[in-house]
Amino acid sequence: MAKKALSVKRDVPFPLYDVDLLSASDEDLKRVSSEMSLGLSLDEMKVITDYFRKEGRNPTDVELESLGQAWSEHCCYKSSKNILKEFVFSVKHPDVLSRGDAGVMSFDDDHGYALRIESHNHPSAIEPYGGAATGIGGIIRDIVCMGAQPVGLGDPLCFGPLDRKGELPPGTKHPKYLLSGAVSGIRDYGNRIGVPTITGGFFFDERYTTNCLVNVSALGIVRKDELTNNFAGGPGETMILIGGRTGRDGIHGVTFASADLTSTSDEDSRGAVQLGDPITKEPIIHACLEVNHLGLITGMKDLGGGGLSCVVGEMALSAGECGADVDLDKVPLKEPGLAPWEIWVSESQERMMVTCKPENTEKILEVFSLWDVLATPVAVTTDVPRTRVYWKGTKILDMDTEFLTGGPAYNRPYVNPEVSCKDKETFPKIPSAGEVIPEMLSDLNIASKEWAIRQFDFEVRGATALGPMVGKLNAAGPGDASIVMPVPGSFRGLAAVMGCNPWFTEADPYNGTMSSVEEALRGLVAVGARPDAITNCLNFGNPEKPDRLGVFREAVRGLGDICKALEIPIPSGNVSLYNEGSVGEGVLPTPMIMATGIIEDTRKAVSADFKEPGNRIYLVGKTKDEMGASLLFRKYGGSGGAVPASDPMVFKRISEKLLTAMGKKLIRSCHDCSDGGLAVAVAEMCLSGRVGARIDVPKGAQENVWLYSESNTRWIAEVSKSAAAEFERIMGSDAEVIGETGGDALTVAGSSIPVSSLYESWSRPLWDIMGGTA
């Protein structure tokens, strides 16, 4: 690659350039950043120039490339970390075992579980199959490098409307193509590595058309005494590069992720999309877990954004003021002719780094050799806090490790958003419940995701107690949280579920984000699991736009407030900014939450399908006039209205009571009320259990608010008559009878809808669009 502005080729037999920053003007600095695709601002270039002035020399191209990676939004969270510090990082909890590449929480006396979610949005918008697949690959590596065996995957996806007609903005792929590619990518990668895909979600909105969101999450289980560090044990250790060869794929992936997508991104950025190789990955998982189990390594970290350039410094620095000497010649390459800077920043997939005491190196190589996985010592840690890289005997990078990996942090300007309120509400004209309920069930944001779910193996590992669908075999309905039993021989369950309401968050970022968290936690309680932790992927717009940053700030404040109040830790998280798309409107602000919970005895888990006729149906929690951004308003043209707020103390009180009732096996089925409100929740319970219900709207209630409001802290519970008295005693005024199960139809508000047609309305839409049949 020919270097341009201010570059002077060094007299060595390979491409190496000295870049003359010391005498550069501001214009020059901007040109260097742009021509080398560094993605660095003028201010950042000035800081870098000052650093090299102190070093008394100009930087090499390798050094600048390295800084471009390390200082990208994606790697150093420069726009978000001060906000996260202010609202979120203060959430402390004794059960957090680690806040490494993945968070780790205590699971039982001997085990911890790892959790993490992250985005793979920009690569997926260009090439959805590879983008989604490598997203899974990356999140799995984050779990493995904690020493944890992956036990579950989640895949929340946001796309434009699948039935979108009309011209697409230039450079944009049709949502149907993107969804189909992303689902195939998740399927071919997740299924091949043998990790069950147990949770996820689809979100469709025009605002995702030019910038889809592909988030991926994973869970793992680790023995507490095998929990790994993501850094070296000290100086004098060997760094062994594991896995795939290094090539040009994925060059500049992080600088790509940290900029807006444009209409030419499609052609420009194919190089930034990596291809996944699950069959290299699968043995890497085995071998990495084995060397960890044998106690041979001191640390393990995956090569994600920035490749070697990020992982080497970070592993050395966190070992306590250590540095590293890297012999770049040792790195196994896919093809000859790569420039040293390309090797240093490449994001080729399926690579990990482990550190070890030198005497263990041979034993480690033996394990990897059995699995036919490449393992190559490439660096040693030193007691000098500098990262030094050599190529063919020439030192091509020599920088202070902390400067290299630190990166700036900004307090960018923001304006607080206006929020939707009751004063400005227009309630739409709506048809009868007999029409509204089936239409809502058919809305793609509610309708069955079976087309995708059944392409994912959600039962591999043989530990899935509750999957993403519940109820009648081969005619199942929607569940709440999924449960896996990750420790063989134990019935202790790990529950996981996604929660997100981007429409609420758009209308009211603070309350919308709290609602997203609460929705996820409600899903856990609905199956009988006690909420334990959350992890989040915050997908927002360009933080350099004050209105976007204001939305982000309010969302993070909501996230912190609810977690602090409920003492729910956030041991890991991810921020994806610059989700603007090519039209400039930006995606819906999307705080994707994965919540995890623990159920002591999975045999007491509760599913959402109505079980039999003749049982009482209770509404747990109170319905409020909170119609803002509800599905009803979106579908029938309402506007304004209050977005549901969350009262954490009320949530705590009611969920404790519900869990008590479940522990006593008093509840036959339970489902969380969220999108579409009570009406949709009850309809879903009918269609998954193939049991009808009669629902009586309470006297004095505003019928349409009562049926369709999406107020938080509400569940529907089915209780047998013999258990009703004890259930009512536990719940007190927090539950009221609203009807009874039975018959072949859902009878409510003067309408009667056959259960079979509820099932049809809910189950068909996605199949009809994507092809095939249930």
């Binding site: 399927r187 299924n191 091949r192 590595i193 043998g194 699950p278 069959i279 290299t280 699968e282 043995p283 033996e366 059995l370 699995w371 036919d372 779910i453 059944r454 392409q455 994912f456 193996d457 959600f458 039962e459 591999v460 590992r461 043989g462 530990a463 899935t464 107690a465 509750l466 999957g467 519940v470 109820g471 009648k472 075999l473 081969n474 199942a476 039993m485 063989p488 021989g489 019935f491 999975t602 045999r603 888990a605 509760v606 599913s607 399908d609 079980k611 089925s669 259990g689 095939g772 049949t773 249930a774």
Partner: protein
């Protein structure tokens, strides 16, 4: 033989990914399973890791995507086994030691020529194929299976003939085909049909109850001697009732339907 003396070789290579649950399933019936990489059996491992197939009493092929299922599901795994340990494997099967293949394991057994094996224990080239599901998609589903074996198969001796079990499955290539016009008759004559897909209540299975379009609804077959069983659905995933997909809505024993397969083979070996 005591149960704990029954040594089970759960064989794996890159991409086999159901070995942990296969291992656990044998543990649950008291056997002593071991996860063994093919290279360990082929002498391509450090001395302390080398293993001999003949030291084991049962050989289990777990599900997954061995070698990525590239070329064809199970084909590469089978080719490597043939070249690395072909004679040992033939001897193992000839001595009527039990061999179980589930999902990708079944595909591998077919590619190895160990099933249907109408002539000899192991044919030179495959005589059957597990072809792409009629839906063209990967299918992760519950299935009802009827035990149609009349007593030949070592893995179903503890399951009443005609009993219907619920096993889940997850695959994209499960349609059992053969070029032999008398394929089904021969399977029947030799008592090689083990499991058939059925609908609820034992009705004839139509999609999705027969999820791949397998002719005559065949889900699993054994060899003529009855010691090699291959099946697409996963008994090792339902060892307790709490992984049955509908366990919250029906009553039943704690034990899952899959347990009977493992109990059957153990009964034969431990009596």
């Amino acid at each position: 033989m005591k149960a704990e003396d029954v040594k089970v070789c759960v064989i794996r290579i890159e991409g086999t990914n159901c070995e942990d649950e296969m291992y656990q399933a044998f543990r649950m019936v008291g056997a002593s399973p071991e996860l063994v990489h093919l290279k360990q059996l082929a002498g391509k491992a450090p001395d302390h890791a080398k293993r001999n197939l003949e030291d084991y009493d049962i050989l289990a092929f777990p599900g997954g995507f061995s070698a990525g299922d590239y070329v064809r599901a199970g084909a590469i795994f089978a080719a490597r086994i043939k070249s690395d340990i072909g004679p040992q494997l033939r001897k193992f099967v000839e001595s009527e030691k039990p061999v179980l293949g589930v999902c990708n394991g079944f595909q591998t057994l077919v590619e190895l020529g160990l099933l249907p094996a109408f002539e000899g224990v192991m044919s030179e080239t495959p005589t059957a194929a597990l072809s792409t599901n009629d839906s063209g998609r990967f299918e992760c589903r519950p299935t009802y299976l009827r035990n149609d074996n009349r007593g030949n198969c070592i893995f179903t001796s503890e399951i009443k003939k005609g009993k219907i079990s619920m096993f889940p499955l997850a695959h994209a290539e499960g349609k059992l085909l053969s070029a032999d016009p008398r394929f089904l008759e021969k399977l029947e004559e030799n008592d090689q049909v083990v499991f058939r897909y059925v609908g609820p209540g034992g009705a004839k299975a139509v999609y999705p109850w027969n999820p791949n379009g397998s002719p005559s609804d065949i889900a699993g077959i054994c060899n003529p001697a009855g010691n090699v069983l291959g099946m697409m659905p996963h008994p090792e995933r339902v060892m307790t009732r709490y992984t049955h997909q509908d366990w919250t809505s029906c009553k039943g024993p704690e034990e899952g339907d899959g347990m009977a397969v493992f109990r059957s083979v153990m009964k034969k070996l431990t009596k």
